[in-house]
């Protein structure tokens, strides 16, 4: 049956990923999670957010490329998906520029009765 259908255009187009590749990706993702948690106990100052985001992005790329088959997908799908992140970047960047130009938050400091109840014994 498979030989029969192989002859036909548009059939048998599936390319199952090898299991070791999937398992390896999962392993790497887990290790990167451990790394993220571990790095939180060191102080890298302002680099902190950067390191965290780089690790998260590596993980996201792994999930996207292998689990979501993007590495073997049609270029148009890849462009769509990557494009969305480009626009997210623009969106957040410009909003942050904008918020830098204004004062800090104007959240009213109310309901702030500082607690002075005696400690329970």
């Amino acid at each position: 049956m498979s030989a029969h259908e192989n002859a036909q255009e548009g059939y048998d187009f599936a390319h199952p990923l090898p299991l070791p590749l999937l398992a390896g990706t999962f392993l790497v993702l887990t290790l990167l999670t451990v790394l993220t948690v571990a790095q939180a106990s060191f102080n890298f100052g302002s680099l902190d957010v950067l390191i965290v985001m780089v690790i998260a992005t590596i993980k996201a790329v792994l999930v996207g490329a292998i689990f979501m088959h993007l590495a073997w997908d049609k270029p148009f799908n890849i462009i769509c998906f990557i494009g969305s992140f480009v626009f997210v970047g623009l969106f957040i960047m410009f909003t942050l520029f904008d918020s830098r130009q204004t004062v800090k938050d104007s959240i009213p400091v109310m309901d702030d009765a500082v607690v002075s109840a005696p400690a329970e014994m």
């Binding site: 255009e9 187009f13 999670t33 939180a40 998260a56 799908n77 909003t95 009213p108 400690a119």
Partner: protein
């Protein structure tokens, strides 16, 4: 008619006009799984996949709004995020990350199974993915109920009180969260028994994995409970560390009011330290739990009222300084209007952090629920053996959705739980 059965292979299978649908390679005929308006299964798959990718793009943009809110508030008040992040249990977050990653792995494996027509294994993989999803929700239920109990609520409802962190008499939030899941579990159990008694084989096959999936929610709740209570001791140490680091940052910033406040605090301690023999020096207030224990034993003598009062004062002071993370300890006359805006860890601002936290994780959890819904649909179809190597689109599309939910959590976890 032909257009309506696009996604329902079995319907097409039963259409009289579409006979010999299994290998129909004639001019007009097509396999049961191939919708009428597609030439080949590959074309059908690619069309569906493009649609799914476009949907995922909208999902990314949808979540980006919340990430943007996060970015702005964190840029404005990094110290609020630092302080409030201490209330999130990193262990639970890390466990949930692992669970989601594993479910992504089983989902990707499931797609492979569908492509290779391993029907039994596909069912097992989908059931595993579903179980991971419910474990995730179970752990989440513990996290949420614990925070609600402490009063760590969104802005406007935020009522955390560091000197009384465990208010008694609140509603049992965990029971409320678990109630719908318990009802569903009971329903599935009844379904399981009924289908077993009636000998409905297909229904029994569906009910069995779903029963496991439902029970996994309570496994998650149990796991969360163990980790949450096990982390309690560490939590107290954390609190002290937080106080210390808060002092440290205040000194770094050269923040005059809080600096003066710290000195004032130390001065305040000194007379008490001199009054009671054997007390540690001033400034070591937060690390003297061992001495407090000794004092406690001395004070357990009911006649020793002086020492008891001393102990009460010490404890009160210790707890007040422990609350330094959330509230300015200089809550007396020195807290002027001018210094009030500096007290950034106030309920109104801490509440904003928790608003963002609940919004992002809550909508993520809703996505998990939606994912559970479509995965159950896949599970039933997989038991029906609907998928083959030319028709595995639904598994693949749901897989893509599931991976993007995982991807969002990959970003959420460090941004929420791992702020220093």
């Amino acid at each position: 008619m032909a257009t309506t059965d696009a996604g329902l292979a079995s319907d097409a299978h039963e259409q009289p006009g579409h006979g010999h649908s299994d290998h129909g390679h004639g001019d007009h005929d097509h396999p049961s799984y191939l919708a009428h308006h597609f030439d080949t299964p590959e074309q059908q798959f690619d069309s569906g996949k493009l649609g799914m990718w476009l949907f995922l793009v909208t999902e990314v943009l949808f979540f980006s709004g919340m990430f943007c809110a996060y970015a702005i508030f964190r840029a404005w008040r990094p110290e609020v995020f630092e302080g409030c992040s201490q209330f999130l249990n990193t262990k639970l977050g890390a466990i949930n990350t692992g669970v989601l990653l594993f479910s992504s792995f089983t989902m990707a494996w499931g797609v492979r199974c569908a492509q290779k027509e391993q029907h039994k294994l596909l069912t097992a993989m989908l059931a595993t993915t579903l179980s991971c999803a419910t474990v995730f929700l179970g752990v989440k239920a513990i996290e949420y109920s614990h925070k609600w109990h402490l009063g760590l609520l969104p802005a406007g409802l935020f009522s955390y009180d560091p000197s009384n962190p465990h208010p008694v008499g609140g509603p049992n939030y965990l029971a409320y969260i678990c109630a719908p899941f318990a009802l569903i579990t009971i329903g599935v159990a009844i379904w399981l028994v009924v289908s077993f008694l009636r000998g409905a084989k297909f229904q029994l096959e569906c009910a069995k994995p779903l029963m496991v999936v439902c029970l996994c929610f309570f496994v998650g709740v149990g796991l969360g409970t163990i980790l949450e209570s096990g982390g309690d001791e560490g939590h107290h140490e954390d609190d002290h560390a937080v106080v210390a680091s808060a002092d440290g940052t205040a000194a770094e910033h050269g923040d005059d009011p809080s600096h003066a406040d710290g000195e004032e605090h130390a001065e305040h301690v000194e007379p008490a330290a001199e009054a009671v023999a054997g007390l540690p020096a001033a400034g070591a207030m937060s690390n003297d739990s061992a001495d407090l224990a000794v004092l406690e034993r001395l004070a357990s003598d009911a006649t020793n009222t002086g020492l008891q009062d001393e102990l009460a004062a010490r404890k009160a002071q210790s707890e007040r300084s422990g609350g330094g993370i959330l509230y300015d300890v200089s809550d007396d006359a020195s807290a002027t209007v001018a210094s009030a805006p500096e007290n950034v860890l106030r309920p109104s601002r801490a509440g904003v952090f928790f608003s963002i936290y609940y919004c992002m994780t809550g909508i993520h959890a809703i996505h998990i629920l939606a994912g559970i819904g479509v995965l159950v649909w896949l599970l039933v179809r997989s038991i029906r053996m609907d998928f083959n190597r030319n028709y595995f689109g639904p598994v693949d599309y749901v897989g893509l959705y599931w991976h993007i939910v995982d991807m969002i959590w990959i970003y959420l976890f460090p941004l929420m739980y791992l702020i220093r």
